[in-house]
């Protein structure tokens, strides 16, 4: 038996993609999920703030996931839980294993990769010092606290002001721990402004920008961490050290799309996003294999993951039902000044209905910015924004007409601050 669409991952991306594939007419749809339940990381995100765009109301993570899980239950989408995918091939075979079903090799007409991302660790940033217990990523701490019901520390320092770190600052405080500081290497926060306000300011937790951890002390359990100010090259400035007596260091120092399956399948990866290179319909460079959500690029808001994954699911269903589509001319998107990446990286103009949404991030905080899309020397579109920040993904919509008119095969997205 051949599935129309196999979705790898049952988090927000996988759920939306599977549902949309079903809606688009795919008959045999299967979700493979490695955890014991659907919902992915949303299950441990018990705070609210989800769904404002998609559902027009404010939900908690489990509520947001719950709505999709409910919708999936009302279809005949198959779900294999506690199932780990070990290999995906370009021929669209999926090798997976589980306690109940054993080792299986499944075949599909289309595959959607929705494996999400993982957290960067202490090793990724080589924090010096000893290696005691009590140094853990914010997401692991979140799992212990919100899923398992255990506290992981009493006096906490958080390195990194990404959203999970900020959320955990508040969570640990509410659970009775003392959060001494949130320390951020960059001169700006990596998280959403609302989280800075609601998770740090509201609880009087100091945020030290342009600081980093230069030492961890303690033989068995963390006893102290030492922070220092950094210069413009992000190097610690001697003499600026501050010592915190704490038993725990939580790390919120970035997320990395989890693409080992993608790489092993030989699918092209974008060095900047660390996710697959994708087309306007979220297809990767391998026909019939799509990708969506945090496995493509790390999002700030789950609502955008949903929208992107619906596009992937729709395209996967069409691919399964009709085979490959001739997309017409291909335009490659390039990163201009201040832009760190764009998704999609490639646009086949023939596949764009009216508008093609383009997501990107900038490399610095900017007030009053102008976003330009350049076709060679010519600015073919420009957009204004009052505020741009690396921690907030930005989006523009390019009309198909403009894309069709583009003379070259490359468009550059560029951002500059205007006076």
């Amino acid at each position: 038996m051949i599935y129309d669409v196999i979705v790898i991952g049952g988090g927000p991306a996988g759920l939306a993609a599977a549902l949309e594939a079903k809606n688009e007419g795919a008959e045999k749809v299967l979700i493979l999920e490695r955890d014991r339940e659907l919902g992915g990381i949303l299950n441990q995100c018990i705070h609210n703030g989800f769904g404002l765009h998609h559902f027009k109301e404010e939900l908690t993570g489990p509520e947001y996931a719950g709505r999709f899980i409910e919708m999936v239950k009302n279809t005949d989408i198959e779900v294999s839980l506690d199932t780990m995918v070990l290999e995906v091939t370009k021929e669209k075979q999926v090798h997976c294993v589980s306690k109940t079903e054993g080792y299986r090799i499944l075949e599909a007409k289309a595959i959607v990769l929705a494996m999400g991302c993982r957290e960067r660790t202490r090793g990724a940033i080589s924090i010096p010092g000893t290696r005691p217990a009590g140094v853990l990523t914010a997401g692991t701490a979140q799992r212990y606290v919100n899923m398992e019901g255990y506290m992981v520390g009493k006096r906490i320092v958080i390195l990194g002001s990404g959203d999970i770190g900020l959320i955990m600052a508040r969570r640990m405080t509410l659970e009775g721990a003392k959060v001494l500081a949130c320390i951020e290497l960059m001169p700006y926060s990596g998280g959403l402004t609302r989280n800075i306000v609601q998770c740090l300011h509201d609880y009087d937790i100091p945020l030290y920008l342009s600081h980093t951890i230069v030492d961890i002390k303690g033989d068995k359990r963390v006893e102290q961490v030492v922070a220092a100010r950094v210069d413009e090259n992000r190097r610690p400035i001697p003499g600026t050290e501050m010592t915190f007596d704490c038993d725990t260091l939580l790390l919120s120092v970035g997320l990395i799309p989890e693409n080992e399956l993608t790489k092993n399948a030989g699918i092209e990866i974008d060095k900047r996003t660390k996710g697959a290179v994708v087309y306007e319909n979220m297809q990767t460079e391998t026909e019939g294999i799509f990708a969506c959500g945090n496995v493509v690029h790390v999002h700030d808001l789950v609502d955008f993951v949903t929208a992107e994954s619906q596009r992937a699911g729709r395209a996967a269903a069409r691919c399964a039902l009709a085979g490959g589509v001739d997309g017409g001319k291909t335009i490659t998107m390039k990163n201009g000044s201040a832009v760190t990446y764009t998704v999609p990286q490639k646009i086949r103009t023939g596949n764009v209905e009216k508008l093609c949404e383009l997501f990107f991030r900038v490399n610095k905080v900017m007030q009053k910015a102008e976003i330009e899309v350049l076709d060679g020397e010519n600015v073919i579109a420009h957009f204004k924004r009052e505020h741009l920040a690396p921690g907030e993904m930005e989006k523009i919509a390019l009309p198909r007409m403009l894309l069709d008119k583009a003379a070259g095969s490359e468009l550059v997205v560029s951002v500059r601050e205007v006076e």
């Binding site: 490695r34 506690d82 780990m84 070990l86 090798h95 294993v97 589980s98 306690k99 109940t100 079903e101 054993g102 080792y103 090799i105 993982r118 957290e119 660790t121 202490r122 090793g123 990724a124 080589s126 010096p128 010092g129 000893t130 290696r131 005691p132 217990a133 009590g134 853990l136 990523t137 997401g139 692991t140 799992r143 212990y144 606290v145 899923m147 398992e148 019901g149 255990y150 506290m151 992981v152 520390g153 009493k154 659970e175 009775g176 230069v214 030492d215 961890i216 002390k217 033989d219 068995k220 359990r221 610690p236 038993d247 080992e260 790489k263």
Partner: protein, 477 residues
């Protein structure tokens, strides 16, 4: 009353225990930590050196060269990861080429098999990522990479399976002679033995001084390392050394048996017990390593660590009976200690025998061990494994593809782990790119379940490395 009591269950203590367990003897091993292989053994370059480096005529030279084939044989029998990839000692200048020639001659004197000086072209063929500055190298085909803690564990487990008594959490606090035997007081109880072998690693001078006149001093040194993600594992095919400096074998770049890339170590005197890593030292390692392999992707680093070395004020291993009859030192086992450990075991066994300890071979010595490593199985074998035991179908560590079955296996094998890192050393869960971020809560849960303990008691590594500090408010209610 034991015939032989071994203090310390690092790779040297384990090798001796393994060797002695082949004989009709009553042997016990005392280890102060909560697991075996947790001192020098757990953090080093994980290499079997070919043996060209030690000065000819030293014990280090002899035991290193003897030990390599012996260790490989043990790895085969006891299912320990070991890969014969050979080593290259690379020259970047004419002076270095002279050193390479000297090392070649020294190696030949030491009896190292297969040594060869190779030129640029051959070097590049073996190592496509090697620096264009490299002129040639000493090729030592007998060098290998190994999992040091698994070697130690496998030998200790086999000794235990054959009747050796191992006591963990047993720090020796006092040794007294009583007639022909010794009374050894520890944190876990009192033991009596006819002979004692001091394999206490960086603490061997202290243990020695409990009963004998101090005659050597451990000067702890540490070496720091980078361990890179598997995506960097193919930057080296062999163990790539640089020509040795004053007191180190130089920074190496090598694949590990698990497929990662290891880079290090440097060498610096440190306070006893100091295993911290230092930003400046790490920077130095990076720069030096790039001299060998310029395109190492340090952005893919997953862990830094420091290993401790039992350097002494004597330039050789210190192995022999002390002035106290029946008390033996196996001390100062610095590099190439891991490479030499298996031969040290045999050497000390022979020494005991020469001193009158009777060595009668056991008729029923169990000399095998089998470990299921799910990610190394073929698709067909995986299918069969899950059919036989469904727990192999539940992947716990997604980075290294370690299953619940493997974790449960190791918990029910001899010398069960009691900590997250104990499981990591046995099956590799948490050793990958997410460093246990995803799997450690699950490993903790499995450990608690299988050991029948409260999750709150499960620690990260040694005693006192607690992970959980209490229940959340909702759970208390």
């Amino acid at each position: 009353m034991f015939d032989v009591l071994i203090i310390g269950c690092g790779v040297v203590g384990a090798a001796l225990a393994y060797e002695l367990s082949k004989h009709e003897l009553s042997v016990c091993v005392l280890e102060k930590e909560n697991d075996v292989a947790v001192g020098t053994t757990k953090a080093n370059s994980a290499i079997l050196h070919s043996g060209y480096d030690p000065k000819p005529g030293t014990l280090m030279a002899r035991l290193n060269v003897e030990s390599v084939p012996l260790t490989k044989e043990i790895c085969r029998k006891l299912d320990v990861p070991c890969k014969n990839i050979g080593s290259l000692t690379v020259a970047f200048s004419e002076d270095d080429m002279e050193t390479v020639k000297r090392l070649y001659e020294r190696g030949v004197k030491n009896g190292v098999p297969g040594l060869e000086i190779i030129g640029q072209e051959e070097l590049r063929r073996k190592e496509p990522h090697i620096s264009p500055e490299a002129l040639g190298a000493l090729w030592a085909p007998s060098a290998a990479i190994i999992s040091p803690w698994e070697l130690c564990l496998a030998m200790a487990q086999t000794a235990v399976r054959n009747g050796t008594e191992l006591y963990l959490d047993s720090e020796v606090t006092e040794i007294k002679k009583k007639g022909e035997s010794f009374i050894v007081k520890t944190s876990s109880g009192v033991y009596e033995a006819r002979n004692i072998v001091n394999c206490a690693g960086v603490f061997s001078d202290k243990v020695h001084a409990m009963i004998a006149e101090p005659c050597f001093k451990i000067l702890p040194h540490s070496g720091e390392y980078f361990l890179l993600d598997k995506c960097e594992g193919d930057k080296a095919n062999t163990v790539i050394f640089q020509c040795p400096g004053e007191d180190t074998k130089g920074i190496l770049v090598s694949p590990t048996v698990h497929g990662n890339l290891i880079v290090g170590p440097d060498n610096a005197a440190v306070k006893a017990g100091d295993l911290s890593v230092d930003a400046k030292r790490l920077q130095g390692i990076k720069e030096t390593a790039r001299k060998s392999v310029p395109d190492i992707g340090f952005g893919e680093n997953i862990r830094n660590f420091a290993g401790i070395r039992a350097v002494t004020d004597i330039d050789d291993f210190i192995i022999g009976e002390t002035e106290v009859q029946g008390f033996y030192d196996v001390a100062g086992i610095k590099s190439p200690g891991l490479s030499a450990a298996a031969a040290i075991g045999v050497y000390v066994k022979n020494m005991l025998e020469a001193s009158g300890v009777p060595m009668r071979r056991k008729k029923s010595f169990v000399d095998e061990r089998h470990v299921t490593r799910f990610n190394e199985l073929t698709a067909e074998e995986k299918r069969e494994a899950v059919e036989k035991n469904p727990l192999y179908g539940r992947v716990i560590c997604r980075c290294e593809t370690v299953t619940e079955g493997e974790i449960v296996d190791c918990i029910h094998a001899p010398i069960p782990p009691c900590s997250i890192d104990g499981v990591k050393r046995r099956v590799g869960a948490g050793m990958g790119r997410c460093q246990g971020g995803f799997c450690s809560p699950r490993v903790l849960e499995i450990l608690a379940r299988e050991l029948g303990r409260d999750p709150m008691e499960i620690e990260k590594d040694k005693k006192g490395t607690y992970i959980l500090t209490g229940r959340t408010k909702g759970e208390q209610a």
